[in-house]
């Protein structure tokens, strides 16, 4: 038995939030992308409810344009921890005519995820969707509450948010509304990596430096894949890269890197001059790209 508990402030806060979600909502779900932030959430949830199992399912909104490593990882994690996984596919909504595929050089299914997510929330009547968004990622996310209310249409009313005082979380909502919950709101990218390191959390291999066939466009490194549109003059080459975020393959750029351990990644981030979402093609669309997507119900 250890004598005095010395808990990380951010970890304590996240666990407190998880417990409030389960106490205040009837039907929560954890939005799981297979990225390091949602994997961290799973670990925190395990700790929050131990020795009980995690009392809500995971849901993956699958664009169909995944890194295969992420999907393998997802399935193994779910099996190892005995979790329930729901998968809803953007492809199904495209096939049913609910969503229309983007065309052209920068086409991506990233924004189509919103439709699929909102339909799934409706289908399962989820009242709380737990996500791994962090306030340090992007300036619209910096304004998020920990309990962030969405209306029937999934819209975020950013100018009319409930005040969140002290640690008191008010999860009262009307029928039809739901809440997005962000337990690691106050974590930075480095905090997540330090936690992965200290907790020895496993993460998908694409976060570590590996050789990959890529091409360069607009100063970013794109993955050569059947899902990524490439013009004839754009030539591919093999380079040592890793990913800092893991999203849809069409909107996640790689960074040149030799960091093949968590420790090396932490050092690399400390020295890094480019922000994490600097390699997110979906944010480059405009100055307000994230805010606009969030208003429409994007995660």
């Amino acid at each position: 038995m250890s004598s005095i508990l010395n808990q990380n402030t951010l970890e304590s806060e996240a666990i407190y939030i998880f417990r409030e979600v389960v106490a205040q909502f009837e039907n929560p779900v954890l939005l799981f992308s297979g990225g390091k932030d949602s994997i961290t959430l799973v670990r925190l949830a395990q700790k929050a409810f131990y020795p009980a199992r995690i009392p809500f399912p995971l849901m993956h909104i699958d664009t169909g344009h995944n890194f295969p490593e992420t999907i393998e990882f997802r399935d193994r994690l779910v099996k190892d921890l005995g979790l329930d996984l729901i998968v809803r596919k953007v492809q199904d909504d495209i096939d049913n005519g609910i969503s229309i595929e983007e065309k052209g050089k920068y086409s991506s299914r990233n924004s189509l995820q919103t439709n699929t997510l909102l339909n799934a929330i409706d289908e399962f009547k989820f009242d709380a969707c737990i996500g791994g968004a962090r306030r340090d990622e992007e300036k619209a996310r910096a304004k998020e509450r920990i309990f962030s209310i969405r209306n029937d249409f999934g819209e975020w009313d950013e100018k009319n948010q409930r005040p969140e005082v002290f640690d008191m979380l008010n999860g009262r909502i009307d029928i039809g509304q739901n809440v997005r919950v962000f337990p690691i709101s106050n974590w930075t990218e480095l905090d997540v990596w330090n936690y992965i390191d200290s907790e020895k959390i496993e993460i998908p291999s694409i976060y570590f430096a590996h050789d990959r066939e890529i091409f360069e466009r607009d100063g970013l490194i794109w993955t050569a894949s059947e899902y990524v549109y490439k013009e004839d003059h754009e030539t591919t080459e093999t380079k040592r890269v890793r990913f800092r975020t893991v999203g849809d393959i069409t909107c996640t750029a790689a960074v040149a890197s030799n960091a093949d351990t968590v420790q090396k990644i932490i050092q690399e981030i400390r020295d890094s001059a480019i922000s994490e979402r600097g390699a997110r093609i979906d944010d480059k669309r405009s100055e307000a790209a994230m805010e606009t997507r969030k208003q429409q119900g994007y995660f």
Binding site: M1, S2, S3, I4, L5, N6, Q7, T9, L10, E11, S12, E13, I15, Y16, R19, E20, V22, A23, Q46, K47, A48, F49, Y50, P51, A52, R53, R135, D136, K139, A140, A142, K143, E158, K159, Q161, R162, P163, E164, V165, F166, D167, M168, N170, R172, I173, D174, S185, N186, T188, L190, D191, N194, S272, A273, I274, S275, G278, E287, A288, E291
Partner: protein, 414 residues
């Protein structure tokens, strides 16, 4: 790493966003793509210098109007500490955001425009910091470059502020005055050569030297039960643990505890976090507690040491900061959320709006959005409370509108 939370408060155009942008830039927390974005937009706006306020203003409406609407959270770190800034707007109509920002912070930076000095909004900013018992307040006198770096201007502002402080009842609060120019980065992270008469610390030096243990509350332990953990598996068949966060002071295995409101007593048998067990857990820890006896405990109940039972009451006198468009008037009912416990509360009396100039209260009998006043509440059930001065977590509550579900106000128990 240590995390220090800072709230910032200032009036419109005091240069608050610029100061924060400067802190980020000078601590090399802005990445090259963000600096490029700032350069691009500064140039587009016809500026010949870098507009660091662009590092913080997040929403489209904010960028259009050049103002801050909502609390934004900004992160930076030095090798010594991680910092979280709650950047709160200075407009009088957005006071609720300021209370929100200050409520989660250990320290505050109040900005004053050197040309304007202490103004009505400064009173309000200072008052809120007092009400919330923020222990460390930095008063940054900004735009010193526009008053020729005058020592006299600075000293006059310090004197005005000291007069304000003399009226405050929170004597333990520490005030630190620093003359700065956020635009030119003077006394933010680097000492200004233009103000040789100032021999104090820069803002960053001051923040770096603050000790986190000085902010820890030394009060009585309170443990509000968030939920009961019952795995009902073969391995943990009869397991029954109470999950929650300890506040005020630490709890130990063997402590005799009283469960509120039932007043049944038991002993702490185990304190665990995940699959590890501990003899003791300090305030701030999220843990699971097992008791020696099989008694009825559920969400909303509170465990305290049996010789530290707080006061039981059905009537609350509190200072309330009102945050809703619907005016608070006597006779209306709200859900009062006190820790994890919710009870119905009826507004019995609004005993006057408090003058944020620390002057006398007027005899208003209602509180409008952004008003702060004395309120008497009658509760449907008794609760166990401390005054906010004695115990921060057990001395506060929020009022929730039963029709709109919004958090309508926050109260500090007297």
């Amino acid at each position: 790493m240590e995390v220090l939370k800072i709230a910032t408060a200032g009036s419109v155009d005091d240069g608050k966003s610029t100061l924060i942008g400067r802190l980020l830039y000078d601590t090399k927390s802005l990445t090259s793509d963000k600096i490029e974005a700032i350069e691009r937009v500064s140039k587009k706006n016809g500026l010949d210098y870098l507009d660091f306020s662009l590092a913080t203003d997040g929403l489209v409406a904010e960028r259009e109007q050049g103002i801050t609407i909502d609390v934004a959270h900004i992160y930076f770190s030095t090798p010594k500490k991680s910092y979280i800034i709650a950047d709160t707007p200075g407009h009088i109509e957005y006071t609720r955001n300021m209370v929100t920002g200050a409520s989660t912070s250990q320290t505050s930076i109040i900005l004053i425009d050197a040309r304007k000095g202490v103004i009505e909004q400064t009173y309000r900013h200072f008052f809120i910091n007092n009400l919330l018992r923020v222990k460390e307040v930095i008063v940054a006198v900004n735009k010193m470059d526009l008053v020729n770096y005058s020592e006299e201007v600075f000293n006059n502002i310090v004197q005005d502020f000291e007069e304000l402080r003399a009226k405050s009842d929170f004597k333990e609060q520490k005030l630190t005055f620093i003359p700065v120019s956020a635009l030119w980065g003077e006394n933010i992270a680097e000492k200004s050569s233009a103000m040789p008469w100032y021999d104090g610390q820069t803002i960053l030096e001051h923040l770096e030297n603050l000790k986190l243990e000085d902010f820890e509350e030394k009060s009585q332990a309170r443990f509000s039960v968030q939920m009961v953990i019952r795995p009902k598996t073969d391995e943990f068949h009869d397991y029954r643990g109470y999950a929650g966060k300890i506040s005020g002071g630490s709890l130990k295995v063997g402590d005799q505890v009283t469960v509120l409101p039932s007043l049944t007593t038991s002993t702490i048998k185990e304190i665990h976090f995940f699959n590890d067990f501990f003899e003791e857990a300090p305030a701030g820890s999220s843990v699971t507690i097992k008791l020696a006896d099989d008694i009825n405990v559920s969400r909303g109940d509170m465990l305290v040491k049996s010789y530290e039972v707080p006061k039981e009451t059905k009537i609350l006198n509190a200072t309330v900061c009102w945050m809703d468009n619907r005016t608070l008037v006597p006779g209306t009912k709200y859900v009062l959320q006190h820790n994890t416990n919710g009870v119905l509360a009826k507004v019995d009396k609004v005993e006057g709006q408090i003058d944020t100039d620390f002057g006398t209260a007027d005899d208003a009998n209602a509180l409008k959005l952004n008003d702060i006043g004395s309120v008497k509440l009658k509760l449907s059930k008794s609760i166990f409370v401390d005054s906010y001065q004695e115990n921060r977590s057990n001395g506060r509550f929020i009022l929730i509108d039963t029709q709109t579900n919004t958090t309508a106000g926050v109260g500090f128990i007297k």
